[in-house]
């Protein structure tokens, strides 16, 4: 019934900030419908920038797409304002959660109803409270008083209100304890399974991202350096060593290993 092809197709994009700093250099990736795709890489590689280019929040930060094309559901995103894209089914859960702290939990969800045509989520807030019962308990409290994990739940909850086809998730594990990370990611996997929502997941925590993703891209300094189905990447020697922190034999490696450092440099260039 839906148009063929991936829900998101990013082709060869270049992004420049403040008319001077080039952050993305010919980056391409695709997110198939209904799948979770991970985008991994170190700090400053341009992961968040990629997501902002897709959701067009880039322009608010004085960034500009100077080359390539981004197609969401077959249409060039450049034709839409950021809020219009959200209403078409592309929801960006930004880095650092970005909940409205002086609004109550419920008002935060109300704010997200602007993403729905007619302003009404088909099941009200029930779907959000089903996935995140804790938000229901705290629904009338100020969002600023929620714990970090609950704030992340609220940020994802806002996305659920929008009933999107694609969620861009920027570092949902940021600043959370391992047990919370596990909880959040199991819910992310459930949402994907039960709602059929495609996701483009940016993470620094490669291990946890691999656990929920079908396909992964790894980027360095503005472009993709490795990509493949997660099962294959998990067995790739370089990925294991640099992103999962495992040596060939499966145990942790030391940074004092000079050869390791040299090999890494060569691989990056």
């Amino acid at each position: 019934m839906s148009a063929p092809g991936p829900i998101l197709d990013v082709a060869n994009i270049e992004v420049i900030y403040n008319r001077t700093v080039q952050v993305l250099r010919g980056l391409s990736l695709a997110v198939p419908r209904g799948q979770v795709v991970a985008l991994l890489g170190s700090n400053g590689a341009g992961k968040s920038t990629t997501l902002k280019a897709v959701s067009r929040l880039l322009e608010i930060e004085d960034g500009a797409l100077t080359g390539g094309a981004i197609r969401f559901d077959g249409q060039d995103v450049a034709a839409f304002a950021p809020h219009a894209l959200v209403r078409r089914g592309l929801f960006h859960v930004m880095e650092g959660r970005r909940i409205f702290e002086d609004l109550s939990v419920e008002e935060n969800l109300t704010a997200a109803t602007f993403a729905r045509p007619g302003g009404r989520p088909s099941r009200g807030f029930a779907l959000v409270y089903e996935y995140f019962p804790r938000l229901f308990e705290r629904r009338s409290g100020l969002a600023g008083y929620l714990s970090g994990g609950e704030q992340q739940m609220l940020a994802i909850g806002r996305a659920l209100i929008a009933e999107p086809q694609l969620i861009l998730l920027d570092e949902p594990s940021l600043g959370l304890s391992p047990i919370l990370v596990e909880e959040i990611f199991s819910i992310i996997a459930r949402i994907n399974r039960e709602q059929g929502t495609a996701m483009l997941l940016v993470e620094q925590n490669a291990a946890v991202a691999f656990a929920v993703s079908h396909y992964a891209y790894i980027m360095e300094t503005g472009k993709i350096v490795i990509d493949g189905p997660v099962e294959r990447l998990m067995h790739d020697a370089d990925v294991r060593e640099f992103y999962l922190g495992l040596g060939a034999a499966g145990q942790g490696r030391s940074f004092r290993d000079v050869k390791h450092y040299k090999r890494r440099k060569r691989w990056l260039s």
Binding site: S55, L57, I60, E61, D62, A81, P82, H83, V86, R87, F91, H92, V93, M94, R98, I99, F100, E101, D102, L103, E107, N108, T110, A111, A112, T113, F114, A115, R116, G119, R158, A162
Partner: protein, 295 residues
């Protein structure tokens, strides 16, 4: 000052609260714009003045009754706010705050000039729609105009606050004020919210203008009332609605007390001394957010 008269003091205080409520309403209009769009709008006094003249045009010029002229003037004030946003402020989006601030100063002068061209620079009276029978609170006398002005200003402010809390658009407004990018990411049409904030501020300013004009008459220079409102919001905090309300009442009382007990020439000295004192202790105002930009 021998022989302190508590009744007289009470009357002065009530008059101060009356003009304080009008200052608070004007301050609310200012804060609305600043909170949503981060624009320091120095033309707020002139928007207030245009609101008063619109009422004058509908009530005196067209001879409409007050219940017809007031909504029309308020709607006109809202349209003026929206038009200013669309035509002047939106193209300036992303320019330096100082540039936008200067534009609003220029806009204020243009509005004054236009009003002078259309209605002449001479002060006039608004047609009376409040009545003159005095109001007594206990034994204290209050001018009816001031009492009605106070009550209406409080009602309008309460209406605005209620709308921000309960109306879905109020959530969009507060969300946009808190975090623009996040508001976009929730599907909120941020430019439309900007426009709405200016329109609502225009309505609030026009309401204040009608009340100020009813109390003291209208003239193209009545926009200087906006200067006191500027003191109010700087004292209260540029981005704080509560600050505008408290600041409005404090400045209103201070003006009344200093004007009556020290002499009219002390009014400005007293209010601006308060401004200096507050800024020294709390540079972002009594209720303002600490990290906001200052000019």
């Amino acid at each position: 000052m021998e022989g302190f008269d508590p009744l007289f003091f009470a009357e002065v205080t009530l008059a101060g609260l009356g003009s304080g409520a009008l200052l608070a309403l004007t301050g609310l209009a200012f804060v609305l714009i600043y909170k949503a769009t981060r624009v320091v709008n120095l033309a707020i006094g002139e928007m207030l003045m245009v609101g008063a003249y619109l009422f004058f045009a509908f009530a005196a010029g067209l001879g409409l009754p007050a219940w017809g002229a007031i909504p029309l003037a308020l709607a006109g004030g809202g349209l003026l706010g929206a038009a200013i946003e669309r035509a002047i402020i939106r193209p300036m989006l992303g320019e330096s705050p100082i540039a936008i601030f200067m534009v609003t100063i220029g806009l204020g002068s243009v509005l004054v000039g236009l009003v002078e061209i259309v209605w002449s620079p001479n002060p006039t009276q608004l047609p009376d729609f409040i009545g003159a029978a005095p109001v007594f609170l206990g034994e204290a006398y209050v001018s009816r105009k001031i009492a009605v002005g106070f009550a209406v200003a409080c009602l309008v402010i309460a209406g605005f606050l209620l709308a921000f809390r309960t109306w879905r658009g109020g959530v969009a407004l507060r969300a946009t004020a808190a975090d623009q990018a996040a508001a976009y990411s929730c599907g909120i049409d941020v430019p439309a919210v900007f426009c709405a904030a200016w329109a609502l501020a225009g309505v609030a300013a026009a309401a204040a203008g009608i009340l100020v004009g009813a109390v003291g008459g209208i003239s193209p220079t009545m926009g200087v009332f906006g200067l006191s409102a500027l003191v109010v919001v700087i004292v209260g905090g540029l981005d704080s609605v509560a600050g505008a309300l408290v600041g409005g009442l404090v400045v209103g009382l201070l003006e009344a007390w200093s004007g009556t007990f020290l002499g009219g020439e002390y009014k400005i000295v007293a209010t601006f001394s308060l401004l200096l004192a507050v800024l020294v202790v709390r540079p972002y105002g009594l209720f303002g957010t600490a990290e906001i930009e200052r000019l």
